[in-house]
């Protein structure tokens, strides 16, 4: 710790703090453009100049000078920093004037207008006129992909985007060429960025040089209604803010959540919103003579009731999709229970994970923040870059900080950091357990080993053996490094509710076979092919695979249109809020199930009439779900039984979990932006193969 006097206040800060951090600690606001907490220090915008007493007689860039670099006074007084002296004011005005020499005055047509750092800081720290009558420099716009629009004339060369792509995203595709006034940010070859996190450069850009291409000229920041919610595109549960105008979702931005997504979100989370406006189910349908016909709600309910009537529990089944919230999974389960049906499954991808093995067997037990303590990582079957892009950025951060040794079992993939490829077959796991190979030694020596298990490794009958081996490799005193990486937002919540077949019930794969059940309810389940035979009732928001197969379609709300709880891969219960309303006649899923239950006859009626009542029932049955935003990291309860399990591993190589990052759920498949990204990404693959 070191003492420092900032604007007359003496405070104590860690010696390695920069002056800018120390000033923030002291409550003094320092303007900045290039400095960003999560990126390396560049020190090239010069906006954060402060006056340092006893130092050189010139202003100092506070982001690039550490507290320990300052000399104390002659009698050992702490160094003095001024952030509001006349010299600092003049220096800031000068820097701002220089920045504005070449910055166009096109704020009225700039998408950044209203949320622009340069605008704000020019108002706060600049002067009210200009002394430059010369022509402004113009820079040609660059093509850097389908998501980020460039207006490079506006660029002030802060290089945040360059640092983000190289440091956080791990792709060296943006850089700067030229010097001084002629410096340009470019992708060199005018090619699309290949990162799954590229959208974050839009937020990072302090001016309007990089803006969102799909959002281009559609809305102004101040006319949007902001709703804080939770992302469902993957199981990380990133904090998002849904911006709506009227009933339309205009864009999705990340929120700060240090424990989950820091301040990044993946492109799928950010640019999915156009999928919320296409292919929407906005009225109930019933299949008449092979054709789906629009009907009223009551007609649709009557049709379902007629087909369900007289059926035994074993003839009825239900599959929960990847985007369902905990509430609707609970309502769904309760409805099936009224029939005495045990055919219920939330694992439509065919994974064999079972909540009977204990809650610790299906969670990312170390927590996402646990990555920041890990000293060796073994990844089994997962491709975190595709399955949880934000989590992968955290792994990369740890790798950059400490040279984290990472090894991976699974189909070859580029994770953006050095990773030892142990082959694609799970049989390697037996060797590691036996202590064979270099990485086995690394893992044994590690104090905080993290073993990430993806669903690609959990689809076979050896799932329990894989989890058991992973658990054995990752247990330390006070540390449970068994980390199951889920890819579906609904999965952990549904597993917490035990939405798996019980007492000889059929699992998702068995239910989808012809004539396995007579009536099959799909709660937004679109990743599974249901064979002909069963009468299928589809409850969902988009006209996707499930709707095409359905005999009755009950239109429901997408994730931005309902309030709901989601449990992320580390077991954190988070609450999403409604940002807009479902289109047309569509209703929230739990309300559909409640209304349907009443039509199915006595004994089937669900006991709640509002979402709050539903939640009261839910929290009574599952008190753990009432603990919002809490993680019981490293809990090893019930893992001993799992550890004791021994089994053989399948020898065949693991397949990637999904082929296309941009096409993993019905909303994404409805999105034109995602389709374009997907085409660009497959183009890259083709190029690489040539």
């Amino acid at each position: 710790m070191a003492k420092i006097i900032i604007d007359g206040n003496e405070i104590e800060v860690p010696a390695e703090y920069t002056l800018l951090q120390a000033c923030e600690q002291a409550g003094a606001e320092v303007p900045r453009f290039c400095y960003h907490e999560r990126l390396s220090v560049a020190g090239n915008c010069r906006m954060c100049l402060v006056e340092v007493k006893g130092g050189p007689p010139k202003p100092t860039a506070s982001c690039a000078m550490a507290v320990k670099d300052l000399r104390p006074g002659p009698n050992g007084e702490p160094p003095v920093v001024l952030t509001n002296s006349p010299m600092v004011k003049k220096a800031r005005e000068g820097v701002m004037e220089f920045l504005l020499i070449n910055h166009p005055l096109d704020c009225p047509i700039c998408d950044q207008g209203g949320e622009c750092d340069l605008q704000d800081q020019a108002m706060a720290f600049g002067i009210d006129n200009t002394r430059y009558a010369e022509n402004k420099r113009a820079v040609e716009d660059k093509y850097i992909g389908a998501l980020v629009k460039t207006t490079m004339t506006r660029c002030i060369q802060c290089t945040r985007c360059v640092r983000f792509t190289t440091e956080v995203a791990g792709v060296t595709e943006l850089g700067a060429i030229g010097r001084g006034e002629d410096m340009e940010i470019t992708s060199y070859l005018e090619q699309a960025m290949t990162s799954e996190l590229q959208g974050n450069v839009i937020d990072l850009c302090p001016v309007g040089a990089l803006t969102s291409k799909p959002y281009e000229f559609t809305a102004r920041a101040w006319e949007l209604t902001k709703t804080e919610s939770v992302d469902v595109m993957d199981a990380v549960g990133s904090a998002i803010r849904v911006d709506t105008r009227g009933r339309e979702v205009m864009r999705i931005l990340p929120r700060l959540n240090e424990d989950v997504n820091e301040e990044w979100i993946s492109d799928k989370s950010r640019f999915i919103w156009d999928g919320l406006k296409t292919q929407r189910l906005d009225r109930p349908y019933v299949r008449h003579q092979g054709k789906l016909k629009p009907v009223s709600w009551s007609e649709a309910f009557m049709t379902v009731a007629a087909h369900v009537k007289g059926k035994k529990g074993s003839q009825i089944g239900g599959i929960i999709g990847d985007l369902a919230s905990v509430e609707e999974a609970y309502a769904f389960k309760s409805l099936l229970e009224t029939f005495g049906s045990h055919n219920l499954d939330c694992r439509q991808d065919g994974s064999m994970i079972d909540p009977a093995w204990g809650r610790a067997s299906y969670l990312f037990n170390a927590g996402i923040t646990g990555i920041d303590h890990a000293d060796a990582v073994l990844i089994i079957g997962a491709n975190p870059r595709k399955e949880a892009a934000v989590l992968n950025a955290r792994l990369r951060k740890r790798w950059r900080q400490t040279g984290l040794p990472v090894a991976r079992i699974g189909a070859p993939a580029d994770l953006t950091y050095t990773c030892t490829d142990l082959g694609a077959s799970l049989s390697v796991l037996a060797d590691i357990e036996a202590g064979k190979g270099d990485f086995a030694a690394v893992l044994q020596a590690a104090k905080h080993p993290l073993v990430i298990v993806g669903h690609a490794a959990l689809k076979g009958s050896d799932a329990k053996a894989v989890l058991a081996a992973a658990a054995r490799l990752s247990q330390r005193e006070g540390w449970n490094g068994l980390a199951v990486l889920h890819h579906a937002a609904s999965r952990v919540g549904a597993l917490d509710l035990h939405c798996v077949p019980s007492q000889g019930g059929l699992d998702a794969r068995a239910m989808s076979k012809a004539n396995a059940v007579d009536v099959l309810f799909l709660l937004g389940a679109d990743e599974i092919d249901v064979d002909l035979g069963a009468f299928v009732v589809y409850i969902g928001s988009h006209g996707d695979r499930g709707a095409h197969r359905a005999d009755v379609i009950l239109p429901a709300a997408a994730y931005t249109e309902k309030s709901g709880l989601y449990v992320n891969t580390e077991g954190r219960v988070q609450r999403g809020y409604r940002a807009s309303f479902p289109p047309g006649d569509a209703r929230e899923d739990w309300a559909i199930l409640r209304a349907l239950s009443e039509q199915l006859g006595t004994g089937h009626q669900l006991p709640f009439n509002s979402l709050n009542e539903l939640r009261a029932f839910l929290f009574k049955d599952y008190p753990a779900l009432a603990e919002l935003d809490q993680v019981h990291a490293h809990s090893a309860a019930g893992i001993d039984a799992l550890i004791a399990h021994k089994g053989a591993f399948a020898a065949q190589p693991l397949e990637p979990l999904f082929a296309d990052f941009y096409m993993t759920n019905p909303i994404a498949r409805a999105s034109a932006i995602m389709a374009e990204c997907s085409a660009l990404a497959s183009g890259h693959v083709a190029m690489a193969a040539e």
Partner: protein
């Protein structure tokens, strides 16, 4: 009678008596546009000592509204052109649209997409999403 009173007491309707007197004394009519606005310049194209150029002015037909002046006459009024719109060597551009006065405040005013003041304010909510069609 109403026209005379309007002429004497209002400045926003046509020209005031003073302007008419000035026009009669110093002005020389140049032409008239399709709306009936009349355009004048100083007699004999005398250079106005205060302006350093020939003074040009318009007497509106009806209410005075500068947006009533069509593109060709606008150019002439602002000394961008010396060619009058009805002269043979006047070049009209291909991209010029038929002139339309400012409609703000009138029934024909521009109403943005989704405005409830639109004539056919059929809820634009339908347009915010594309429904799935099973066909």
């Amino acid at each position: 009678m109403k026209a005379i009173l309007l002429r004497i007491f209002t400045w926003w309707h046509g020209a005031t008596v003073g302007t008419l007197f000035h026009t009669w004394r110093k002005g020389e009519k140049v032409g008239e546009d399709q709306y009936g606005n009349q355009y004048y310049q100083t007699k004999g194209q005398r250079v106005d000592p205060a302006l350093g150029i020939v003074r040009r002015w318009v007497i509106y037909k009806g209410e005075a509204d500068a947006s009533m002046i069509p593109a060709g006459w606008y150019g002439w009024m602002h000394h961008k052109l010396d060619v009058l719109p009805h002269q043979e060597n006047y070049i009209s551009r291909a991209w010029e649209k038929p002139h339309q006065p400012n409609l703000t405040g009138s029934a024909g005013a521009y109403r943005p997409h989704g405005s409830i003041l639109q004539d056919n304010s059929q809820s634009s909510a339908k347009e915010t999403y594309k429904p799935w069609n099973p066909a």
